[in-house]
């Protein structure tokens, strides 16, 4: 496999959510979500039900992938921060720990300066959590200690999905 399997456990999920909840408050943001670079939504907080977060996640990853491709062409490693300014709402998109994308949606109740400042702090915390998560997953895999639910699936289970 080209990449290690992306997994999420309860413990880290809670830690991650508490970091982005705090960021939501401190940055006065409307919505914050975390996406992996392949476009899968990891978690979201704030007014998430008002937005189609699944689509946003996929497009965010596409956006990061496209600008990453542009960066390479001009000899940069990647653009680690993107900012999109709208009439009302703005998006601050940044890469955390090289692997995960942090998206902050905010309006005029906040400011780019504030968001940038708070994101920096939260990013450091998230980088540590995701680093630990990766290690944990690798160790579990090595020791064969996976509580992986799919080990026992049957053909019937699979067929039932499509019935």
């Amino acid at each position: 496999m080209a990449n290690p399997q992306m997994v999420m456990y309860d413990e880290e999920f809670k830690q991650i959510n508490s970091v982005i909840e705090k960021l939501l408050k401190e940055a006065n943001a409307k919505v914050i979500f975390l996406v992996d670079k392949n476009g899968q939504l990891i978690s979201g907080v704030g007014e998430t039900e008002r937005f189609d977060t699944t689509s946003l996640a996929s497009l965010t990853a596409g956006n990061i992938a496209a600008t990453g491709g542009m960066a390479k062409l001009i000899g940069e490693k990647e653009f680690s921060i993107l900012f999109h300014e709208g009439e009302k709402d703005n998006l601050h998109i940044s890469i955390v720990g090289g692997r995960v994308i942090l998206v902050v949606l905010f309006d005029s109740r906040s400011s780019l300066g504030l968001v940038r400042l708070r994101v920096k702090k939260a990013s450091d915390e998230l980088t540590i959590i995701f680093g630990g998560l990766l290690k944990k997953a690798e160790e579990k895999e090595k020791s064969g200690d996976t509580d992986f639910p799919f080990a026992e699936i049957t053909d019937d289970d699979i067929d039932n999905l499509f019935s």
Binding site: M1, A2, N3, P4, Q5, M6, V7, M8, Y9, D10, E12, F13, K14, D36, K37, N38, G39, Q40, I42, D52, T54, S55, S58, L59, G62, A65, A66, G68, G69, T146, D147, F148, P149, F150, A151, E152, I153, D157, I158, N160, L161, F162
Partner: protein, 195 residues
């Protein structure tokens, strides 16, 4: 690479539809979208040109149901088939769990099919994948048209390793779900084996 979330009990897998320009990749997704119950699908996103050619990708999230208490989601993507969009195709292959190669069965598109399949191999290799090790199925599309090649000819060129393959007419939907099911199944079997 699939994403397993033990906290929310979800598994997400990424399926990419690949193939030459106009072979019917977007039409496959459109049919799946039309025929899937509202609660099992998200919005279909198409980043396309004004003439409806895929510019970056189409995206369709499906939540088919649960296996052993885990919500199983498939994220379907298409690549832009036109030759000059190669940089975009590479990006979309990142993190892929399974590939559908959609071939255009018309005789005059045979060269384009071969070129696209070769391009798929090369682009996967660049990402560190090997096509022969990935869940992979082939679809011979546009079987309704008059100038199609016999399936045996197509198979010889496009499916030498004998992966599951299907005849289809994406506009009417024939073969569309069979193709999707087959690749989804291969992905789940891979997951089961802990690959």
């Amino acid at each position: 690479m699939s994403f397993i979330n033990y906290a929310s009990r979800e598994i997400n897998c990424k399926i990419v539809y690949y193939g030459p320009g106009l072979c019917g990749k977007t039409t496959n997704l459109q049919f799946v979208y039309q025929k899937t119950a509202p609660d099992a699908k998200g919005k279909m996103i198409s980043l396309a040109t004004e003439t409806e050619r895929t510019l970056f990708f189409d995206f369709l999230p499906l939540a088919l149901g649960e296996i052993r208490g885990f919500k199983t989601r498939f994220h379907l993507y298409t690549v832009p088939g036109q030759v000059f969009y190669d940089a975009s195709r590479k990006l979309i292959l990142k993190g892929v769990d399974g590939v559908v190669f959609v071939a255009d069965s018309q005789e005059e598109r045979m060269d384009a099919n071969i070129e696209s399949l070769e391009n798929l191999r090369v682009n996967l290799q660049e990402q560190g994948y090997e096509l022969d090790k990935l869940p992979f199925v082939v679809q011979y599309n546009k079987r309704d048209l008059p100038s199609v090649l016999p399936v045996d000819n197509l198979r010889k060129e496009l499916n030498p390793t004998n992966v599951p393959d299907f005849e289809a007419c994406a506009t009417t939907g024939e073969g569309v779900f069979e193709t999707l099911k087959a690749v989804a199944k291969l992905i789940l079997v891979d997951l089961k084996q802990g690959k």
